[in-house]
């Protein structure tokens, strides 16, 4: 019964999602999913593209390891309109447990015009969480 209780608590703690603002760290393990949100202002003719997010390592270039994509559509507009974009990246065994991975996003067909925003050293890939020595140490009337 004691082991079952510990297992349940572990499962609850591991399921907590942490929202991180650019620059803040997030810890992930294999099986987790990272949702990457971005925003962009657009004006011009109606346009469809792919929002692309990647975890990897910034060196001379960006060494991509895991990616996520979603289709985006911008209606025609003579004025700038703000859009929220989102893509999920599934953490697989393709990425090693390590700290300080980097993250970047782009619009696949308009990379030059829109740019490639990047946040560095924000993803830590950790091994499956482990707990030990979790026990009741005392109980008393207060």
């Amino acid at each position: 019964m004691k082991d079952l209780y510990a297992q349940t608590v572990r499962g609850l703690l591991e399921s907590v999602g942490v929202e991180a603002l650019p620059g803040e760290k997030v810890q992930l393990k294999v099986g987790d999913k990272l949702r990457v949100n971005a925003s962009i202002d657009y004006k011009g003719p109606a346009l469809s593209d792919t929002f692309y997010a990647a975890i990897g390592v910034r060196g001379v270039g960006f060494d991509e390891i895991l990616v996520g994509q979603s289709v985006v559509s911008f209606p025609q507009s003579a004025d700038f309109v703000t859009y929220n974009l989102s893509a999920d990246i599934t953490i697989t065994t393709a990425i090693a447990a390590k700290t300080d991975y980097d993250l970047y996003v782009k619009l696949v067909n308009h990379e030059t015009e829109a740019g490639r925003p990047e946040v560095d050293n924000v993803i830590d890939i950790v091994s499956a969480m482990a707990f030990q020595n979790f026990k009741i140490t005392g109980y008393n009337k207060v």
Partner: protein, 143 residues
Amino acid sequence: MERNQNPPSSGPRGTRGLAPLAVGTYADIIAVYGPANAAYGDQVSISVVVMNLASYPIYIGVGGHYDTTGMNYSPEYAAVDAGGSYVFTASFSMPNKSITLDVWSWYWTGAEWVVDDHEAISIPLRTLAPEFRRFGVTQYNKV
């Protein structure tokens, strides 16, 4: 008579009567000003300059349309001195296509409005190039 915007909705009073004559005889459209092109949604301003070719003052009005959309010019009509000219204006939001704008001039006979002159201009649609700004990661979280 060609399809056109209706003449001014009412006529002025006490005007010297004129017999209907050949097109462009009294209210001569001497210029129509508009943009060289316009983007979808742009506010397009049109100015029509009409000259009174009669030897006495007459009332002149302007009407017209682009494609099937009627246009109301301001003022609805005006008293124009002999040999003088008057500018009538209108504006509209550019549709999502190139358009041809037709304008007609009218003069008042004392009893009715008579269509006189006609001009047409083309306003091509200016295609917008895609523009992006403020692209950035806002948040990332485990889901």
